[in-house]
């Protein structure tokens, strides 16, 4: 019995099973995970680890454990999607901890949050003075959402009646020296137009360009391979191994 080979084969089984199951369970971001999702992830990972290295038992029961946990996770997801009543219990719900500038002590106690936890979460959101807060809500994932009092909200162009250019998502026209013709066609532009535009910036060939994008306002962003920057600013504060 070649134990190394067995572990390698079991690793492949564990790795891809985990990949397939997690894709089926959902594509939530880590930051959106509730505490239960987090524990679920750890348990499934732990089962996959023992599937890989615990040769004293067969891979099959571990794999069935992995499948069962993933299936239950998926079931919970389906229930919370279809049944709002259950979702409230299973996923939790947002809780108001500061209302009209007043801290809701009972809610804090119920959620087992200390005032210092709330202060830390507020500081993470850039709020250092409680006077600025109108509403603060703890979301089911533990993050805080803050609504500042109107007098502390940032000024917007609308407040000043300033006309602004429409914004939108830029489209890539050249990536890694290669022109993306589908995107050009989508924007009703052609290669000749692009060449003219890059020629204006002193570029003779698209292969000199690392990235070129066009925003809806019609402004072209071009980054060349040759950046002419001799010394890159080092933002590290400690001289490590490299």
């Amino acid at each position: 019995m070649n134990e190394g080979l067995v572990v390698a084969v079991r690793s492949i089984i564990g790795f891809f099973s985990l990949l397939i199951f997690t894709r089926i369970i959902g594509k939530e971001q880590i930051s959106q995970l509730t505490f239960f999702d987090y524990v679920l992830g750890i348990t499934i990972g732990s089962i996959a680890a023992s599937l890989t290295t615990d040769l004293s038992s067969r891979a099959w029961p571990h794999w069935i454990g992995l499948l069962s946990w993933a299936a239950l996770g998926y079931l919970m997801e389906l229930i919370t999607l279809k049944w709002r009543y259950a979702a409230k219990y299973l996923e939790g719900e947002p809780t108001i901890v500061i209302m009209k500038g007043k801290i809701m002590e009972k809610s804090l106690k119920k959620m087992k949050y200390r005032t210092s936890d709330i202060m830390a979460l507020l500081r993470n959101k850039g709020v250092f003075d409680l006077n600025e807060v109108d509403f603060a809500i703890i979301e089911p994932n533990g993050q805080i959402s803050v609504l500042k009092k109107p007098e502390h909200l940032p000024l917007t162009p609308k407040d000043m009646n300033i006309k602004v250019m429409p914004t939108g998502i830029s489209t890539e026209l050249i990536y890694d020296g290669i022109i993306i013709e589908e995107n050009l066609a989508q924007l009703n532009k052609d290669k000749a137009w692009l060449m003219k535009e890059i020629n204006k910036q002193g570029i003779k060939d698209p292969s000199e360009v690392f990235l070129a994008t066009l925003n809806p306002a019609g402004k072209l962003y071009i980054d060349k391979y040759d950046d002419h920057i001799k010394k890159i600013i080092d933002i590290g504060d400690y001289k490590g191994p490299y």
Binding site: M1, R23, L55, S56, R58, W60, W63
Partner: protein, 121 residues
């Protein structure tokens, strides 16, 4: 086509994984000539019962060779403990045959048969 690939590749992969994890229950049986472990064990019991120690020794060597072949097939689907226990039973059987100790030999053979039955279950 893309949707078909996205669905069919994971299903195909999972089917292969299940086959690898479950194939021990049938790969432990004879695939070729003379790979029948229960049959060899039965022959050794017969030989020992009739005090044919030389023949029993030859059959034990055959059992060892066959076992080594089968281990390479079932290693991905069986637990290491059962495999090791079967190997240890063969080693003890060799000692019992050397000492011409009938009761120990029978004990080891029956234990080995039980380990073989438990493989892949």
């Amino acid at each position: 086509m893309r949707k078909f690939m996205v669905i069919s590749i994971p299903i195909f992969a999972i089917a292969i994984f299940i086959f690898i994890m479950q194939n021990g229950s049938f790969l432990k049986y004879s695939l070729g000539e003379g790979e029948d472990i229960p049959q060899i064990i039965e022959e050794i019991i017969q030989n020992i019962s009739k005090d044919h120690w030389e023949e029993a020794n030859n059959k034990t060597n055959e059992l060892k060779k066959t076992w080594n072949k089968i281990v390479s097939r079932i290693q991905f689907s069986s637990e290491r403990d059962e495999i090791n226990s079967f190997t240890a039973s063969i080693a003890r059987l060799e000692g019992a045959i050397l000492a011409q100790d009938k009761s120990s030999a029978f004990m080891e053979l029956k234990e080995a048969l039980e380990h073989w039955r438990n493989l892949g279950r």
